[in-house]
């Protein structure tokens, strides 16, 4: 039995009288790779914020392992032009940096060209890579990503996800990710959690794709995806 890094028990969150999260039970173990999917407004980001501690649930228990070291990559970072700050200064904020690790990550994520560029002048994709770098520099054992590939083009997305996979495999970092990229999520074999205020279903993509709740929420999207794939297929051989 693997140890839980963090364990959520019966979490409830209300906001202005509306239930955002209902009875959420979630265990994240060492070596897990979990992807949360769900419609807009399903409470995905709120759940993430509860896990990183920036939102307090109305009820429920959160148990954190004493070895837990979380790093978080947000959906996006607001540009604040009033702060004159470049990427390098941002990366060094509030953490000691191991030079070897720094060299390796800057090389892997190809960010060395814009380390001296002001944060507000970076493109969405560049800023996202800087955010991932900052997360990795803290050497976490649980990496939490909230729609990390949102600002990337398709090839950028594929590259990003394959890098996350590599991190998971090689460094044995546990990953919790919110994703809208159904085509990527559903084509992998990683565990998926389908969230719509409560956890509708969870498991391998193959299995949850057959789940009635999943079909109700994502049926249309999945059909569209399949038709895109079919079209793509025709195009090549037809």
């Amino acid at each position: 039995m693997q140890q839980n890094l963090i364990s959520l028990q019966n979490i409830n969150l209300k906001f202005t009288g509306k239930n955002i999260l209902e009875n959420i039970d979630l265990d994240i173990k060492k070596g897990d790779f979990l992807t949360i999917i769900g419609p807009n407004g399903a409470g995905k980001s709120s759940l993430i914020k509860i896990i990183i501690g920036s939102l307090k649930p109305n009820s429920g228990k959160i148990k954190r392992n004493k070895d837990l070291k979380i790093a978080y990559v947000p959906q996006k970072m607001e540009i604040n032009k009033t702060i004159p700050i470049n990427a390098k200064y941002f990366l060094k904020l509030n953490q000691k940096i191991d030079q070897k690790l720094f060299q390796k990550i800057t090389h892997d994520l190809k960010i060395s060209d814009f380390l001296n560029t002001s944060l507000s002048n970076l493109s969405g994709g560049q800023r996202q890579r800087i955010l991932l770098t900052k997360a990795l520099l803290s050497e976490p054992n649980l990496l939490i990503l909230d729609e990390p590939a949102q600002n990337l083009d398709i090839s950028g997305q594929l590259e990003f996800y394959s890098y996350i996979n590599k991190l998971h495999k090689e460094k044995n970092i546990s990953i919790l990710m919110v994703s809208h990229d159904l085509h990527i999520v559903m084509s992998s074999t990683k565990k998926v959690i389908c969230l719509n205020h409560h956890i509708c279903c969870q498991g391998e993509p193959k299995i949850i794709a057959q789940n009635p709740d999943f079909k109700e929420i994502f049926g249309n999207d999945m059909n569209k995806l399949i038709s895109i794939y079919n079209h793509y297929h025709d195009h090549h051989h037809g």
Binding site: T16, K49, I52, G53, S54, I70, A71, Y72, P74, M77, E78, N80, T82, I83, P84, I85, N86, Y89, F90, K92, L93, N94, Q95, S118, L119, L131, K134, S138, I144
Partner: protein, 281 residues
């Protein structure tokens, strides 16, 4: 130079060291109006202090912290926008203060409290200023990176174990303390200018947060020394004199930036305009 002007200069240097550092955060967190409203509302504290003969510094500190707590509470409720809440607070504070003042028969130097007065600065105020400096500087410098990270993205900060609510409270108390010690020099109306003008000038010429802090401090200290001397020599009102100097520096820094762009635009558009006129039969 007599003892009096030296006393003023020492007080002004202490205040500008504090306001220039905290001012960077006020600019970054876009809290200029927050500071302004607290300062205006603190007139209520002054009025109550005078009416009941309670120490004025203590009353200013108490009212600013009290209002900041109420503001924090209401802002979390999302009923009203921030600017409306701040407006209500500032004007409510001033109005109540004026009514209380009309009840008290004490000699009340309203202009002095609105714009600052040299005559207010006593030895005990200087002691208080440097006491505040010794509290505020270590807090800012020990938590410098945490404050910056919180300003950039509080969720990332939170994931690194920094508690945003705690630091928000610390920051609010520092602002309240700064307003308290600055009011006697600048008056209620102009407190915020010492926070925002040097830091704004510095923003234009800085490339890193550390540079911004350094330049802001240099500009602020220079302006307050020069301002104190000029105000003493020519019998000018102190706060506005210091602030006018900072505004002159601000203009000197910002004019070259505006000039290049607007002159180019004006030339271009006026040429197009002329061409159009000439074409007309």
């Amino acid at each position: 130079m007599d003892e009096f002007i030296i006393q003023i200069i020492i007080a002004a240097i202490g205040i500008s060291l504090i306001t220039s550092a905290l001012g960077c955060f006020v600019i970054w967190k876009k809290m200029a109006y927050f500071g302004d409203s607290l300062a205006h509302a603190s007139l209520l504290g002054i009025a109550i202090g005078i009416l009941f003969s309670i120490d004025i510094n203590l009353m200013i500190l108490a009212t600013t912290i009290f209002f900041a707590v109420i503001l924090g509470f209401l802002q979390n409720r999302n009923f009203l926008s921030n600017d409306a809440l701040l407006g209500i607070l500032a004007h409510g504070g001033i109005s109540l203060a004026m009514i209380i003042i009309s009840f008290s028969h004490a000699n009340f130097d309203l202009e002095g409290f609105l714009f600052g007065s040299l005559l207010f600065v006593e030895n005990k105020d200087i002691l208080l200023i440097y006491l505040a400096l010794f509290i505020i500087y270590p807090i800012i410098f020990l938590n410098w990176q945490k404050f910056i990270l919180l300003t950039l993205n509080s969720d990332i900060a939170c994931s690194m174990g920094i508690n945003p609510a705690k630091y928000r409270m610390i920051f609010t108390i520092l602002i309240a303390l700064t307003i308290t010690i600055t009011i006697k020099i600048t008056g209620v109306l102009l407190v915020t200018s010492l926070l925002i003008i040097p830091a704004s000038i510095s923003r234009i010429i800085s490339k890193s947060p550390n540079q911004m802090l350094l330049f802001s401090t240099i500009i602020s200290v220079f302006s307050s020394i020069l301002g104190s001397i000029l105000s003493y020599q020519f019998d000018l009102i102190l706060g506005p004199t210091i602030i006018t100097i900072t505004i002159i520096i601000f203009s000197l820094v910002i004019i070259p930036i505006i000039n290049l762009k607007t002159i180019l635009n004006i030339k271009q558009s006026s040429l197009i305009f002329l061409a159009k006129i000439c074409k007309k039969p």
